[in-house]
Symmetry: C2
Subunit: 329 residues, 2 copies
Protein backbone atom coordinates (compact mmCIF):
# COMPACT_ATOMS: atom_id res chain seq x y z
CA UNK A 1 0.00 0.00 0.00
CA UNK A 2 1.41 3.37 -1.05
CA UNK A 3 1.41 6.28 1.35
CA UNK A 4 1.81 10.00 0.88
CA UNK A 5 3.89 11.84 3.45
CA UNK A 6 4.12 15.58 3.81
CA UNK A 7 7.50 17.23 4.20
CA UNK A 8 6.68 20.16 6.47
CA UNK A 9 10.02 21.86 5.81
CA UNK A 10 9.88 21.81 2.00
CA UNK A 11 6.09 22.09 2.03
CA UNK A 12 5.74 19.28 -0.49
CA UNK A 13 4.18 15.83 -0.48
CA UNK A 14 6.08 12.67 -1.42
CA UNK A 15 4.59 9.40 -2.63
CA UNK A 16 6.24 6.39 -1.02
CA UNK A 17 5.55 3.67 -3.53
CA UNK A 18 6.19 0.20 -2.17
CA UNK A 19 4.95 -1.36 -5.43
CA UNK A 20 8.07 0.12 -6.93
CA UNK A 21 10.15 -0.32 -3.78
CA UNK A 22 13.53 -1.89 -3.87
CA UNK A 23 15.96 -3.01 -1.21
CA UNK A 24 18.45 -0.28 -0.31
CA UNK A 25 21.27 -2.25 -1.92
CA UNK A 26 19.36 -2.23 -5.22
CA UNK A 27 20.26 1.45 -5.57
CA UNK A 28 23.96 0.68 -5.85
CA UNK A 29 25.57 2.67 -8.63
CA UNK A 30 25.65 0.34 -11.64
CA UNK A 31 28.71 2.04 -13.12
CA UNK A 32 31.91 1.00 -11.40
CA UNK A 33 34.03 4.11 -11.77
CA UNK A 34 37.67 3.49 -12.57
CA UNK A 35 39.77 5.16 -9.87
CA UNK A 36 41.33 8.15 -11.65
CA UNK A 37 45.01 9.00 -11.12
CA UNK A 38 46.16 11.43 -8.41
CA UNK A 39 46.97 14.08 -11.02
CA UNK A 40 45.74 14.55 -14.59
CA UNK A 41 47.92 16.57 -16.95
CA UNK A 42 45.15 18.47 -18.71
CA UNK A 43 42.88 18.96 -15.68
CA UNK A 44 42.55 22.71 -15.03
CA UNK A 45 42.05 22.06 -11.31
CA UNK A 46 45.18 19.93 -10.78
CA UNK A 47 48.34 21.46 -9.21
CA UNK A 48 50.71 22.91 -11.78
CA UNK A 49 47.78 24.00 -13.99
CA UNK A 50 46.83 27.05 -11.95
CA UNK A 51 47.44 29.22 -15.03
CA UNK A 52 44.58 27.48 -16.86
CA UNK A 53 42.01 29.10 -14.58
CA UNK A 54 41.49 32.67 -13.36
CA UNK A 55 43.68 33.51 -10.32
CA UNK A 56 42.27 32.33 -7.01
CA UNK A 57 40.19 34.63 -4.81
CA UNK A 58 41.00 32.65 -1.72
CA UNK A 59 43.37 29.93 -0.71
CA UNK A 60 43.10 28.00 2.53
CA UNK A 61 46.03 29.05 4.77
CA UNK A 62 48.35 26.12 4.92
CA UNK A 63 51.97 25.33 5.71
CA UNK A 64 52.98 24.01 2.29
CA UNK A 65 51.17 23.56 -1.07
CA UNK A 66 47.53 24.60 -1.30
CA UNK A 67 44.90 22.26 0.10
CA UNK A 68 41.72 24.03 -0.99
CA UNK A 69 41.25 27.13 -3.12
CA UNK A 70 38.51 29.22 -4.70
CA UNK A 71 38.59 30.60 -8.20
CA UNK A 72 36.06 32.61 -10.19
CA UNK A 73 33.91 30.32 -12.32
CA UNK A 74 35.14 30.65 -15.90
CA UNK A 75 31.57 29.97 -17.08
CA UNK A 76 29.92 32.14 -14.49
CA UNK A 77 26.12 32.15 -14.40
CA UNK A 78 26.26 35.75 -13.15
CA UNK A 79 28.25 38.78 -14.21
CA UNK A 80 30.79 39.72 -11.56
CA UNK A 81 30.98 43.33 -12.78
CA UNK A 82 28.22 45.90 -13.01
CA UNK A 83 25.53 47.40 -10.85
CA UNK A 84 22.15 46.02 -9.99
CA UNK A 85 19.14 47.23 -11.98
CA UNK A 86 15.53 46.16 -12.27
CA UNK A 87 12.97 46.71 -14.99
CA UNK A 88 9.29 45.91 -15.46
CA UNK A 89 7.35 46.29 -18.67
CA UNK A 90 3.96 44.63 -18.81
CA UNK A 91 4.51 41.03 -17.74
CA UNK A 92 8.24 41.18 -18.39
CA UNK A 93 9.98 41.44 -15.03
CA UNK A 94 13.76 41.45 -15.38
CA UNK A 95 16.83 42.42 -13.40
CA UNK A 96 20.59 42.42 -13.79
CA UNK A 97 22.25 39.03 -13.54
CA UNK A 98 25.04 40.39 -11.37
CA UNK A 99 26.59 38.55 -8.48
CA UNK A 100 29.30 36.05 -7.63
CA UNK A 101 30.00 32.55 -8.86
CA UNK A 102 33.11 30.69 -7.70
CA UNK A 103 34.45 27.18 -7.87
CA UNK A 104 35.79 25.64 -4.66
CA UNK A 105 38.56 23.22 -5.63
CA UNK A 106 38.22 20.90 -2.68
CA UNK A 107 41.63 19.25 -2.81
CA UNK A 108 44.73 19.24 -5.01
CA UNK A 109 44.27 15.50 -5.53
CA UNK A 110 42.28 14.59 -8.61
CA UNK A 111 41.19 11.28 -7.11
CA UNK A 112 40.12 12.24 -3.58
CA UNK A 113 36.45 13.09 -3.32
CA UNK A 114 35.03 14.49 -0.08
CA UNK A 115 34.03 11.00 1.08
CA UNK A 116 37.65 9.90 1.30
CA UNK A 117 39.31 13.17 2.32
CA UNK A 118 41.36 13.12 5.55
CA UNK A 119 39.61 14.94 8.40
CA UNK A 120 42.11 17.80 8.35
CA UNK A 121 41.59 18.44 4.63
CA UNK A 122 37.82 18.27 5.14
CA UNK A 123 38.10 20.93 7.86
CA UNK A 124 40.09 23.13 5.46
CA UNK A 125 37.34 22.68 2.90
CA UNK A 126 34.59 23.62 5.37
CA UNK A 127 36.46 26.68 6.58
CA UNK A 128 36.96 27.74 2.96
CA UNK A 129 33.21 27.43 2.36
CA UNK A 130 32.53 29.56 5.43
CA UNK A 131 35.05 32.17 4.32
CA UNK A 132 33.41 32.48 0.90
CA UNK A 133 29.92 32.64 2.39
CA UNK A 134 31.06 35.64 4.42
CA UNK A 135 32.93 37.19 1.50
CA UNK A 136 29.93 36.85 -0.82
CA UNK A 137 27.55 38.44 1.65
CA UNK A 138 29.98 41.36 2.01
CA UNK A 139 29.19 42.22 -1.63
CA UNK A 140 26.31 44.73 -1.32
CA UNK A 141 24.68 43.33 -4.47
CA UNK A 142 24.35 39.84 -2.97
CA UNK A 143 21.02 38.92 -1.34
CA UNK A 144 21.26 35.13 -1.17
CA UNK A 145 24.15 32.66 -1.19
CA UNK A 146 23.95 28.98 -2.09
CA UNK A 147 26.75 26.45 -1.88
CA UNK A 148 26.39 23.19 -3.78
CA UNK A 149 28.28 20.27 -5.20
CA UNK A 150 27.51 18.19 -8.29
CA UNK A 151 29.29 14.84 -8.01
CA UNK A 152 29.17 12.77 -11.19
CA UNK A 153 27.54 13.19 -14.57
CA UNK A 154 24.00 12.36 -13.41
CA UNK A 155 24.37 15.12 -10.81
CA UNK A 156 25.28 17.63 -13.52
CA UNK A 157 29.05 17.92 -13.48
CA UNK A 158 31.37 17.65 -16.44
CA UNK A 159 34.68 18.08 -14.59
CA UNK A 160 35.94 15.10 -12.62
CA UNK A 161 38.31 16.92 -10.25
CA UNK A 162 36.51 17.28 -6.89
CA UNK A 163 34.94 20.72 -6.66
CA UNK A 164 31.95 22.57 -5.27
CA UNK A 165 30.36 25.80 -6.41
CA UNK A 166 29.12 28.85 -4.59
CA UNK A 167 26.72 31.40 -6.06
CA UNK A 168 25.81 34.82 -4.66
CA UNK A 169 22.47 35.89 -6.12
CA UNK A 170 21.24 39.49 -6.31
CA UNK A 171 17.77 38.34 -5.24
CA UNK A 172 16.18 35.69 -3.04
CA UNK A 173 14.72 32.70 -4.90
CA UNK A 174 10.94 32.35 -4.70
CA UNK A 175 11.26 28.79 -3.36
CA UNK A 176 13.39 30.06 -0.48
CA UNK A 177 10.79 32.75 0.26
CA UNK A 178 7.90 30.26 0.18
CA UNK A 179 9.64 27.93 2.60
CA UNK A 180 10.59 30.79 4.92
CA UNK A 181 6.97 31.93 4.96
CA UNK A 182 5.79 28.41 5.85
CA UNK A 183 8.40 28.25 8.62
CA UNK A 184 7.25 31.64 9.87
CA UNK A 185 3.61 30.50 9.89
CA UNK A 186 4.69 27.42 11.85
CA UNK A 187 6.52 29.59 14.36
CA UNK A 188 3.51 31.87 14.75
CA UNK A 189 1.18 28.91 15.35
CA UNK A 190 3.41 26.77 17.56
CA UNK A 191 5.94 29.16 19.06
CA UNK A 192 8.92 27.07 18.00
CA UNK A 193 11.31 26.72 15.08
CA UNK A 194 10.19 23.89 12.80
CA UNK A 195 13.77 22.67 12.31
CA UNK A 196 14.52 22.67 16.06
CA UNK A 197 11.28 20.77 16.61
CA UNK A 198 12.19 18.27 13.86
CA UNK A 199 15.56 17.61 15.50
CA UNK A 200 13.85 16.78 18.79
CA UNK A 201 11.33 14.44 17.15
CA UNK A 202 13.81 12.67 14.89
CA UNK A 203 16.42 12.21 17.63
CA UNK A 204 13.86 10.76 20.03
CA UNK A 205 12.22 8.56 17.37
CA UNK A 206 15.58 7.36 16.08
CA UNK A 207 14.35 5.23 13.16
CA UNK A 208 15.54 7.64 10.49
CA UNK A 209 18.76 8.74 12.20
CA UNK A 210 22.05 8.02 10.42
CA UNK A 211 24.34 9.53 13.03
CA UNK A 212 24.26 12.01 15.89
CA UNK A 213 27.02 14.11 17.45
CA UNK A 214 27.04 16.82 20.13
CA UNK A 215 26.11 19.49 17.64
CA UNK A 216 24.59 17.75 14.60
CA UNK A 217 21.91 15.26 13.63
CA UNK A 218 22.13 13.45 10.29
CA UNK A 219 18.95 11.67 9.22
CA UNK A 220 16.69 10.69 6.35
CA UNK A 221 13.63 12.97 6.35
CA UNK A 222 10.28 11.36 7.16
CA UNK A 223 9.13 12.52 3.70
CA UNK A 224 12.44 12.05 1.86
CA UNK A 225 12.07 13.07 -1.77
CA UNK A 226 14.26 10.26 -3.05
CA UNK A 227 16.22 7.25 -1.79
CA UNK A 228 18.94 8.23 0.73
CA UNK A 229 17.96 11.90 0.63
CA UNK A 230 19.76 13.03 3.80
CA UNK A 231 19.62 16.12 5.97
CA UNK A 232 22.29 17.30 8.41
CA UNK A 233 20.83 19.76 10.91
CA UNK A 234 22.87 21.82 13.39
CA UNK A 235 21.27 21.35 16.81
CA UNK A 236 21.81 24.93 17.90
CA UNK A 237 19.24 27.34 16.48
CA UNK A 238 21.05 29.30 13.76
CA UNK A 239 19.32 31.02 10.83
CA UNK A 240 22.56 31.55 8.94
CA UNK A 241 25.54 29.30 8.27
CA UNK A 242 27.88 32.23 8.95
CA UNK A 243 26.97 32.02 12.67
CA UNK A 244 28.66 28.64 13.05
CA UNK A 245 31.47 28.40 15.66
CA UNK A 246 34.91 26.91 14.98
CA UNK A 247 34.09 23.82 17.03
CA UNK A 248 30.83 23.29 15.20
CA UNK A 249 32.51 23.78 11.84
CA UNK A 250 35.13 21.14 12.58
CA UNK A 251 32.41 18.77 13.77
CA UNK A 252 30.32 19.43 10.65
CA UNK A 253 33.36 18.57 8.51
CA UNK A 254 33.53 15.14 10.15
CA UNK A 255 29.76 14.52 10.05
CA UNK A 256 29.46 15.52 6.38
CA UNK A 257 32.46 13.43 5.42
CA UNK A 258 31.14 10.43 7.38
CA UNK A 259 27.70 10.60 5.74
CA UNK A 260 29.28 10.97 2.29
CA UNK A 261 31.54 8.01 3.09
CA UNK A 262 28.52 5.88 4.02
CA UNK A 263 26.83 6.82 0.73
CA UNK A 264 30.07 6.23 -1.19
CA UNK A 265 30.74 2.87 0.43
CA UNK A 266 27.16 1.61 0.76
CA UNK A 267 26.05 2.56 -2.74
CA UNK A 268 29.37 2.24 -4.62
CA UNK A 269 30.12 5.92 -5.21
CA UNK A 270 26.83 7.09 -6.74
CA UNK A 271 26.42 10.52 -8.29
CA UNK A 272 24.98 13.01 -5.82
CA UNK A 273 24.26 16.66 -5.12
CA UNK A 274 24.73 18.36 -1.83
CA UNK A 275 23.72 21.89 -0.86
CA UNK A 276 24.01 24.20 2.14
CA UNK A 277 20.64 25.94 2.50
CA UNK A 278 20.94 28.98 4.70
CA UNK A 279 19.31 32.28 5.47
CA UNK A 280 21.27 35.50 4.99
CA UNK A 281 23.27 37.14 7.81
CA UNK A 282 20.53 39.77 7.93
CA UNK A 283 18.21 36.96 9.10
CA UNK A 284 20.51 36.18 12.02
CA UNK A 285 17.90 36.89 14.66
CA UNK A 286 14.98 35.15 12.96
CA UNK A 287 13.24 32.70 15.28
CA UNK A 288 11.86 30.63 12.41
CA UNK A 289 14.88 30.13 10.09
CA UNK A 290 17.53 27.44 10.57
CA UNK A 291 20.24 26.53 8.05
CA UNK A 292 21.03 22.92 7.11
CA UNK A 293 22.80 20.62 4.68
CA UNK A 294 20.90 18.46 2.17
CA UNK A 295 22.43 15.51 0.32
CA UNK A 296 20.59 13.91 -2.60
CA UNK A 297 22.15 10.82 -4.20
CA UNK A 298 21.06 10.66 -7.83
CA UNK A 299 19.85 7.08 -7.82
CA UNK A 300 16.44 7.82 -9.33
CA UNK A 301 15.40 10.30 -12.01
CA UNK A 302 12.94 13.16 -11.69
CA UNK A 303 10.65 13.05 -14.74
CA UNK A 304 7.38 14.43 -16.07
CA UNK A 305 5.45 13.72 -12.87
CA UNK A 306 7.87 15.76 -10.78
CA UNK A 307 7.93 18.52 -13.39
CA UNK A 308 4.16 18.77 -13.48
CA UNK A 309 3.45 18.58 -9.77
CA UNK A 310 6.57 19.54 -7.79
CA UNK A 311 6.00 16.26 -5.89
CA UNK A 312 8.31 13.25 -5.94
CA UNK A 313 7.79 9.51 -6.10
CA UNK A 314 10.21 7.75 -3.77
CA UNK A 315 10.57 4.00 -4.37
CA UNK A 316 12.31 3.45 -1.02
CA UNK A 317 11.30 3.52 2.62
CA UNK A 318 13.15 6.23 4.60
CA UNK A 319 13.40 4.04 7.71
CA UNK A 320 15.03 1.22 5.69
CA UNK A 321 17.42 3.63 3.93
CA UNK A 322 18.52 5.08 7.28
CA UNK A 323 19.08 1.63 8.77
CA UNK A 324 21.16 0.71 5.73
CA UNK A 325 23.38 3.80 6.02
CA UNK A 326 23.66 3.48 9.82
CA UNK A 327 25.09 0.02 9.30
CA UNK A 328 27.80 1.11 6.82
CA UNK A 329 30.94 1.46 8.93
CA UNK B 1 25.85 40.27 -19.36
CA UNK B 2 23.56 37.82 -17.56
CA UNK B 3 20.00 38.74 -16.77
CA UNK B 4 17.44 37.33 -14.37
CA UNK B 5 13.88 37.07 -15.61
CA UNK B 6 10.88 36.32 -13.46
CA UNK B 7 8.36 33.75 -14.62
CA UNK B 8 5.11 35.17 -13.24
CA UNK B 9 3.19 31.95 -13.86
CA UNK B 10 5.59 29.58 -12.08
CA UNK B 11 6.60 32.29 -9.61
CA UNK B 12 10.29 31.51 -10.07
CA UNK B 13 13.28 33.43 -11.40
CA UNK B 14 15.53 32.13 -14.17
CA UNK B 15 19.11 33.15 -14.84
CA UNK B 16 19.79 33.65 -18.54
CA UNK B 17 23.52 33.12 -18.74
CA UNK B 18 25.03 34.31 -22.01
CA UNK B 19 28.53 33.42 -20.77
CA UNK B 20 27.34 29.86 -21.05
CA UNK B 21 25.09 30.52 -24.02
CA UNK B 22 25.17 28.35 -27.06
CA UNK B 23 23.58 28.58 -30.47
CA UNK B 24 20.24 26.74 -30.65
CA UNK B 25 21.74 24.09 -32.88
CA UNK B 26 24.36 23.31 -30.21
CA UNK B 27 21.61 21.62 -28.21
CA UNK B 28 21.15 18.92 -30.83
CA UNK B 29 20.86 15.50 -29.24
CA UNK B 30 24.36 14.00 -29.42
CA UNK B 31 23.05 10.43 -29.49
CA UNK B 32 21.74 9.45 -32.90
CA UNK B 33 19.01 6.99 -31.99
CA UNK B 34 18.76 3.97 -34.25
CA UNK B 35 15.23 3.83 -35.63
CA UNK B 36 13.62 0.88 -33.82
CA UNK B 37 11.49 -1.62 -35.74
CA UNK B 38 7.73 -1.24 -36.09
CA UNK B 39 7.12 -4.12 -33.68
CA UNK B 40 9.35 -5.66 -31.00
CA UNK B 41 8.62 -9.23 -29.92
CA UNK B 42 9.20 -8.79 -26.21
CA UNK B 43 7.73 -5.26 -25.88
CA UNK B 44 4.72 -5.44 -23.53
CA UNK B 45 3.08 -2.52 -25.35
CA UNK B 46 3.29 -3.97 -28.87
CA UNK B 47 0.22 -5.59 -30.50
CA UNK B 48 -0.02 -9.29 -29.83
CA UNK B 49 1.46 -8.86 -26.35
CA UNK B 50 -1.68 -7.49 -24.72
CA UNK B 51 -1.59 -10.43 -22.26
CA UNK B 52 1.70 -9.14 -20.82
CA UNK B 53 -0.03 -6.14 -19.25
CA UNK B 54 -3.19 -5.77 -17.17
CA UNK B 55 -6.35 -5.58 -19.34
CA UNK B 56 -7.06 -2.13 -20.76
CA UNK B 57 -9.38 0.31 -19.00
CA UNK B 58 -10.07 2.16 -22.21
CA UNK B 59 -9.48 1.71 -25.86
CA UNK B 60 -9.95 4.42 -28.45
CA UNK B 61 -13.02 3.52 -30.56
CA UNK B 62 -11.72 2.56 -33.93
CA UNK B 63 -12.80 0.61 -36.99
CA UNK B 64 -10.09 -2.06 -36.89
CA UNK B 65 -7.17 -2.81 -34.57
CA UNK B 66 -6.61 -0.53 -31.58
CA UNK B 67 -4.91 2.82 -32.16
CA UNK B 68 -4.51 4.02 -28.58
CA UNK B 69 -5.31 2.29 -25.31
CA UNK B 70 -4.98 2.80 -21.56
CA UNK B 71 -3.88 0.15 -19.12
CA UNK B 72 -3.33 0.25 -15.36
CA UNK B 73 0.34 0.93 -14.59
CA UNK B 74 1.87 -2.37 -13.48
CA UNK B 75 4.23 -0.40 -11.23
CA UNK B 76 1.61 2.01 -10.00
CA UNK B 77 2.77 4.82 -7.73
CA UNK B 78 -0.65 4.74 -6.04
CA UNK B 79 -2.85 1.93 -4.79
CA UNK B 80 -5.97 1.61 -6.93
CA UNK B 81 -7.90 -0.12 -4.14
CA UNK B 82 -8.72 1.18 -0.69
CA UNK B 83 -10.26 4.19 0.95
CA UNK B 84 -8.68 7.51 1.70
CA UNK B 85 -7.39 8.12 5.22
CA UNK B 86 -5.26 10.81 6.86
CA UNK B 87 -3.17 10.78 10.00
CA UNK B 88 -1.13 13.31 11.93
CA UNK B 89 1.18 12.53 14.82
CA UNK B 90 3.56 15.27 15.86
CA UNK B 91 5.35 16.36 12.69
CA UNK B 92 4.43 13.20 10.82
CA UNK B 93 1.63 14.08 8.40
CA UNK B 94 0.61 11.11 6.28
CA UNK B 95 -2.28 9.94 4.13
CA UNK B 96 -3.27 6.97 2.03
CA UNK B 97 -1.50 6.68 -1.29
CA UNK B 98 -4.70 5.77 -3.09
CA UNK B 99 -5.62 6.92 -6.54
CA UNK B 100 -5.20 6.08 -10.20
CA UNK B 101 -2.14 5.52 -12.35
CA UNK B 102 -2.50 4.44 -15.96
CA UNK B 103 -0.27 4.13 -18.99
CA UNK B 104 -1.53 5.58 -22.27
CA UNK B 105 -0.08 3.47 -25.08
CA UNK B 106 -0.07 6.15 -27.73
CA UNK B 107 0.10 3.95 -30.81
CA UNK B 108 0.44 0.26 -31.68
CA UNK B 109 3.61 1.09 -33.61
CA UNK B 110 6.79 0.74 -31.58
CA UNK B 111 8.64 3.25 -33.76
CA UNK B 112 6.14 6.11 -34.10
CA UNK B 113 6.57 8.76 -31.44
CA UNK B 114 4.04 11.59 -31.15
CA UNK B 115 6.19 13.84 -33.35
CA UNK B 116 5.67 11.59 -36.36
CA UNK B 117 2.15 10.32 -35.69
CA UNK B 118 -0.43 10.94 -38.44
CA UNK B 119 -2.93 13.68 -37.49
CA UNK B 120 -5.78 11.18 -37.14
CA UNK B 121 -3.81 9.01 -34.70
CA UNK B 122 -2.79 12.11 -32.76
CA UNK B 123 -6.46 13.09 -32.44
CA UNK B 124 -7.25 9.59 -31.12
CA UNK B 125 -4.46 10.03 -28.58
CA UNK B 126 -5.76 13.42 -27.41
CA UNK B 127 -9.33 12.17 -27.12
CA UNK B 128 -8.06 9.22 -25.08
CA UNK B 129 -6.26 11.62 -22.73
CA UNK B 130 -9.45 13.64 -22.33
CA UNK B 131 -11.49 10.51 -21.67
CA UNK B 132 -9.11 9.41 -18.91
CA UNK B 133 -9.00 12.89 -17.36
CA UNK B 134 -12.78 12.71 -17.03
CA UNK B 135 -12.73 9.11 -15.82
CA UNK B 136 -10.12 9.85 -13.16
CA UNK B 137 -12.00 12.85 -11.81
CA UNK B 138 -15.12 10.67 -11.56
CA UNK B 139 -13.29 8.69 -8.84
CA UNK B 140 -14.36 10.43 -5.61
CA UNK B 141 -10.90 9.87 -4.09
CA UNK B 142 -9.17 11.85 -6.85
CA UNK B 143 -8.42 15.53 -6.18
CA UNK B 144 -5.85 16.31 -8.87
CA UNK B 145 -4.98 14.74 -12.22
CA UNK B 146 -1.70 15.13 -14.08
CA UNK B 147 -0.89 13.78 -17.53
CA UNK B 148 2.74 13.52 -18.57
CA UNK B 149 5.12 11.89 -20.96
CA UNK B 150 8.76 10.89 -20.44
CA UNK B 151 10.45 10.51 -23.82
CA UNK B 152 13.92 8.98 -23.66
CA UNK B 153 16.20 7.87 -20.85
CA UNK B 154 17.24 11.39 -19.77
CA UNK B 155 13.54 12.21 -19.38
CA UNK B 156 13.06 9.24 -17.09
CA UNK B 157 11.61 6.45 -19.16
CA UNK B 158 12.85 2.90 -19.42
CA UNK B 159 10.35 1.58 -21.98
CA UNK B 160 10.90 2.62 -25.59
CA UNK B 161 7.39 2.04 -26.91
CA UNK B 162 5.66 5.46 -27.13
CA UNK B 163 3.54 5.98 -24.05
CA UNK B 164 2.31 8.66 -21.66
CA UNK B 165 1.16 8.35 -18.07
CA UNK B 166 -1.75 9.76 -16.16
CA UNK B 167 -1.94 9.98 -12.38
CA UNK B 168 -4.98 10.79 -10.25
CA UNK B 169 -3.78 12.03 -6.84
CA UNK B 170 -5.89 12.01 -3.67
CA UNK B 171 -4.56 15.49 -2.80
CA UNK B 172 -3.48 18.66 -4.56
CA UNK B 173 0.30 19.16 -4.77
CA UNK B 174 1.66 22.12 -2.80
CA UNK B 175 3.32 23.54 -5.92
CA UNK B 176 -0.04 23.59 -7.70
CA UNK B 177 -1.61 25.37 -4.71
CA UNK B 178 1.20 27.95 -4.53
CA UNK B 179 0.86 28.80 -8.21
CA UNK B 180 -2.92 28.97 -7.98
CA UNK B 181 -2.60 31.37 -5.07
CA UNK B 182 -0.21 33.59 -7.05
CA UNK B 183 -2.63 33.53 -9.99
CA UNK B 184 -5.47 34.43 -7.66
CA UNK B 185 -3.48 37.33 -6.20
CA UNK B 186 -2.80 38.51 -9.75
CA UNK B 187 -6.48 38.34 -10.58
CA UNK B 188 -7.40 40.26 -7.46
CA UNK B 189 -4.85 43.00 -8.24
CA UNK B 190 -5.37 43.29 -11.99
CA UNK B 191 -8.83 41.90 -12.67
CA UNK B 192 -7.64 39.51 -15.35
CA UNK B 193 -6.38 35.96 -15.70
CA UNK B 194 -2.58 35.91 -15.83
CA UNK B 195 -2.55 33.26 -18.57
CA UNK B 196 -5.07 35.19 -20.74
CA UNK B 197 -2.97 38.31 -20.27
CA UNK B 198 0.22 36.40 -21.19
CA UNK B 199 -1.39 35.16 -24.40
CA UNK B 200 -2.23 38.75 -25.41
CA UNK B 201 1.28 40.02 -24.66
CA UNK B 202 3.13 37.12 -26.29
CA UNK B 203 0.97 37.12 -29.42
CA UNK B 204 1.38 40.85 -29.91
CA UNK B 205 5.13 40.81 -29.13
CA UNK B 206 5.70 37.78 -31.36
CA UNK B 207 9.40 37.26 -30.69
CA UNK B 208 8.88 34.13 -28.61
CA UNK B 209 6.00 32.66 -30.64
CA UNK B 210 6.55 29.27 -32.28
CA UNK B 211 3.12 28.97 -33.88
CA UNK B 212 -0.38 30.33 -33.52
CA UNK B 213 -3.75 28.90 -34.54
CA UNK B 214 -7.34 30.04 -34.01
CA UNK B 215 -7.47 28.49 -30.56
CA UNK B 216 -3.88 27.99 -29.39
CA UNK B 217 -0.62 29.86 -28.95
CA UNK B 218 2.66 27.92 -28.74
CA UNK B 219 5.63 29.94 -27.47
CA UNK B 220 8.82 29.93 -25.44
CA UNK B 221 8.15 31.64 -22.10
CA UNK B 222 9.92 34.96 -21.49
CA UNK B 223 11.55 33.29 -18.46
CA UNK B 224 11.92 29.79 -19.93
CA UNK B 225 13.49 27.46 -17.39
CA UNK B 226 15.63 25.66 -19.97
CA UNK B 227 16.40 25.73 -23.70
CA UNK B 228 13.29 25.18 -25.85
CA UNK B 229 11.00 25.01 -22.82
CA UNK B 230 7.67 25.53 -24.62
CA UNK B 231 4.16 26.35 -23.52
CA UNK B 232 0.96 25.74 -25.46
CA UNK B 233 -1.87 27.88 -24.12
CA UNK B 234 -5.53 27.56 -25.14
CA UNK B 235 -6.74 31.05 -26.03
CA UNK B 236 -10.18 30.58 -24.52
CA UNK B 237 -10.23 30.99 -20.75
CA UNK B 238 -10.59 27.47 -19.34
CA UNK B 239 -9.51 26.45 -15.83
CA UNK B 240 -9.81 22.72 -16.58
CA UNK B 241 -8.72 20.63 -19.56
CA UNK B 242 -12.02 18.73 -19.38
CA UNK B 243 -13.83 21.86 -20.66
CA UNK B 244 -12.14 21.61 -24.07
CA UNK B 245 -14.46 21.34 -27.11
CA UNK B 246 -14.08 18.73 -29.85
CA UNK B 247 -12.82 21.35 -32.30
CA UNK B 248 -10.27 22.63 -29.83
CA UNK B 249 -9.13 19.10 -29.00
CA UNK B 250 -8.50 18.28 -32.66
CA UNK B 251 -6.64 21.55 -33.08
CA UNK B 252 -4.54 20.88 -29.97
CA UNK B 253 -3.60 17.48 -31.41
CA UNK B 254 -2.16 19.19 -34.49
CA UNK B 255 -0.43 21.99 -32.56
CA UNK B 256 1.18 19.59 -30.05
CA UNK B 257 2.29 17.26 -32.79
CA UNK B 258 3.71 20.16 -34.85
CA UNK B 259 5.69 21.56 -31.90
CA UNK B 260 7.00 18.08 -31.04
CA UNK B 261 7.95 17.61 -34.70
CA UNK B 262 9.89 20.88 -34.69
CA UNK B 263 11.75 19.75 -31.56
CA UNK B 264 12.31 16.28 -33.03
CA UNK B 265 13.54 17.58 -36.36
CA UNK B 266 15.41 20.68 -35.17
CA UNK B 267 17.22 18.99 -32.27
CA UNK B 268 17.52 15.43 -33.64
CA UNK B 269 14.96 13.70 -31.43
CA UNK B 270 16.09 14.84 -27.97
CA UNK B 271 14.68 13.36 -24.78
CA UNK B 272 11.83 15.47 -23.40
CA UNK B 273 9.00 15.64 -20.91
CA UNK B 274 5.60 17.07 -21.59
CA UNK B 275 2.79 17.66 -19.12
CA UNK B 276 -0.80 18.88 -19.15
CA UNK B 277 -1.20 21.18 -16.14
CA UNK B 278 -4.83 21.72 -15.34
CA UNK B 279 -7.15 22.67 -12.56
CA UNK B 280 -9.85 20.24 -11.43
CA UNK B 281 -13.40 20.25 -12.86
CA UNK B 282 -14.49 21.74 -9.54
CA UNK B 283 -12.42 24.80 -10.50
CA UNK B 284 -14.37 25.19 -13.73
CA UNK B 285 -15.64 28.66 -12.89
CA UNK B 286 -12.39 30.06 -11.48
CA UNK B 287 -11.47 33.38 -13.06
CA UNK B 288 -7.77 32.96 -12.26
CA UNK B 289 -6.98 29.37 -13.37
CA UNK B 290 -6.17 28.35 -16.96
CA UNK B 291 -4.86 24.94 -18.05
CA UNK B 292 -1.93 24.57 -20.45
CA UNK B 293 0.64 22.20 -21.91
CA UNK B 294 4.35 22.43 -21.03
CA UNK B 295 7.12 20.77 -23.03
CA UNK B 296 10.65 20.55 -21.62
CA UNK B 297 13.35 19.07 -23.86
CA UNK B 298 16.04 17.52 -21.64
CA UNK B 299 19.02 19.20 -23.26
CA UNK B 300 20.51 20.53 -20.01
CA UNK B 301 20.68 18.99 -16.55
CA UNK B 302 19.20 20.36 -13.33
CA UNK B 303 21.86 20.05 -10.63
CA UNK B 304 22.73 21.27 -7.13
CA UNK B 305 21.92 24.89 -7.88
CA UNK B 306 18.38 24.06 -8.98
CA UNK B 307 17.96 21.69 -6.04
CA UNK B 308 19.03 24.32 -3.53
CA UNK B 309 17.15 27.30 -4.92
CA UNK B 310 14.25 26.11 -7.09
CA UNK B 311 15.66 28.48 -9.74
CA UNK B 312 17.12 27.45 -13.09
CA UNK B 313 20.11 28.54 -15.13
CA UNK B 314 19.18 28.69 -18.81
CA UNK B 315 22.15 28.85 -21.19
CA UNK B 316 19.97 29.89 -24.13
CA UNK B 317 18.03 32.99 -25.14
CA UNK B 318 14.26 32.34 -25.40
CA UNK B 319 13.88 34.66 -28.41
CA UNK B 320 16.62 32.79 -30.30
CA UNK B 321 15.17 29.38 -29.38
CA UNK B 322 11.73 30.45 -30.63
CA UNK B 323 13.14 31.76 -33.90
CA UNK B 324 15.00 28.48 -34.37
CA UNK B 325 11.84 26.37 -33.83
CA UNK B 326 9.69 28.71 -35.94
CA UNK B 327 12.05 28.10 -38.84
CA UNK B 328 11.89 24.29 -38.64
CA UNK B 329 9.36 23.28 -41.28
Amino acid sequence: MSEIRKNLITGEYVILAPERAKRPSDFECPVKHEAPPERVDNCPFCPGNEDKTPPHNYICPDAGAWTCRCIPNKFSALSSEGDMWRNEEGLKVVMAGVGRHEVVIETPYHNRCLAVLPDEAMKCYMSTCLHRFNAFYADPRVEHVILFKNHGAAAGTSLEHPHSQIVGLPMTPAQVRYRAQDACDYFDDKGSCLVCRTIEEEASDGRRVIMETDNFLAFIPYAALSPFHTWIFPKRHMPCFTAITGTELDELAVVLKTVLWKVYKGLCNPDYNYVIRSGAPSDCNADHLHWYVAIVPRVTKAAGFELGTGMYINPSIPEASAEFLRDVK
